[in-house]
């Protein structure tokens, strides 16, 4: 039930624990967390007693606790954990519009509320608003790449990074994830962009060539050039940086 060996490639330093009685849920959440750049180790825990005993000796940087509508199991665990360790950064995880649980979570001392259908970006923000540490500091919008900006739950004030306006009221409105704008020092040519788009659709060089009425060798040349421009090793990384730089949809 506890995945100690499940550690990431090491560039992330934050440790996150995910508690939920439903195995499916906690593992689903955990698997999405490992994709976040600043997250190093994720552990999924399904037993309340185990969680408490672990908390006696070690603390995660963030503890995620899942809840089910009209069941207070998750909230009970959150209450227990926070009673024993009041400064523990706890995020409650629940249904998209469960205002009741949001209120309950806040009242027992949770730092925030995360919808279970949150995107990676939103999870990232949820974590970053909750005492996450990267090399001892709170993460900043780094080197022009997207960074969590807004959203999680209404009761959490939206940050004002990058000039975005904070949430006005405290109504249970949920602001959706946003992306910081980057200096975009790279600009791809039209053809390179078309090739990159084709790649993102799983097309082979030959296929792209056929669709653009070009030779496959020409596509390979464009590919090489766009790899250099984007600093990418292969098409997968090129596509990824395309998305991260806001060039793709």
């Amino acid at each position: 039930m506890i995945d100690d060996r499940m550690r990431g490639p090491g560039h992330g330093t934050t440790t996150v624990w995910v508690y939920d009685e439903r195995r499916r849920v906690r593992e689903d959440i955990a698997s999405r967390l490992v994709a976040l750049p600043f997250v190093g180790r994720v552990e999924a825990i399904g037993d309340a007693a185990a969680l408490m005993s672990r908390l006696a000796t070690r603390h995660p940087d963030v503890l995620l606790i899942g809840t089910q509508r009209a069941m207070d199991s998750g909230l009970t665990v959150a209450t227990q954990a926070l009673r024993a360790h009041p400064r523990l950064p706890v995020l409650v995880l629940g249904a998209p519009d469960d205002a009741e649980t949001v209120r309950a979570a806040v009242s027992v001392g949770a730092r925030g509320y995360l919808r279970w259908d949150a995107t990676a970006l939103e999870m990232g923000l949820g974590l970053s608003r909750v005492g996450l540490r990267v090399d001892g500091r709170t993460p900043q919008p780094a080197n022009g790449h997207p960074v969590p900006l807004a959203s999680v739950g209404a009761h959490v004030a939206a940050p004002a990074w990058n000039g975005a306006t904070p949430l006005a009221g405290s109504a249970p409105t949920v602001v959706r994830a946003a992306v910081t704008r980057e200096a975009t020092p790279v600009s791809l040519s039209m053809r390179e962009m078309q090739v990159l788009t084709g790649m993102s659709q799983g097309k082979s060089n030959a296929q792209i060539g056929r669709e653009l009425y070009l030779s496959e060798d020409t596509i390979k040349t464009h590919a090489r050039r766009l790899f250099r421009k984007l600093g990418a090793k292969d098409r997968a990384e090129a596509v990824a940086t395309g998305f991260r730089r806001g060039m793709m949809t």
Copy 2:
């Protein structure tokens, strides 16, 4: 100067013309437009006379006109074009916070204002708010994939798709791009997610295996399984759908 042969792979039907005197600018914008799924043909035009004569016989679905701060060349062209063709959907392109040009653009009849540093998502919305047609209809948030949601310029009312609140005032605040939430029917396991993340960082299967203390063959197995789950042909497409589904950052 006019790229008639520069047509996309055909799944997009919208035709966009980009006007700007600076070659660099118009081609940069054009190259970013071709990446949008619903955009079929993009033509970059650098000469005002040529633009007007082309407009006499054919109309694009959207006409983008670039402006420079403290120069009215672009606005002059926009004025000309709109005087001759009042129903032409024109978007003015300009500096991020050039409120003056925004006002001027609106007053001459432009349908919206697009920051030159807009992300693909934002451009998509700019286009979709401006009379874009896909098979005769305005595009909807389709099959669970991200879709332009907010932003372009303050004077354009933000759409209320997905329950997001429209822009409150008419102040020159700019709402950043947002992403719709999708039903996320696929869930990757922890390992699959780690492999996908490695792919997005340009790592080879062997490299990923080394970092996770696994055999390369194991990575290949995880890769195959995640390809099937995501419906992807190769790692590039897998990474792309990972981003489109909000699983990656």
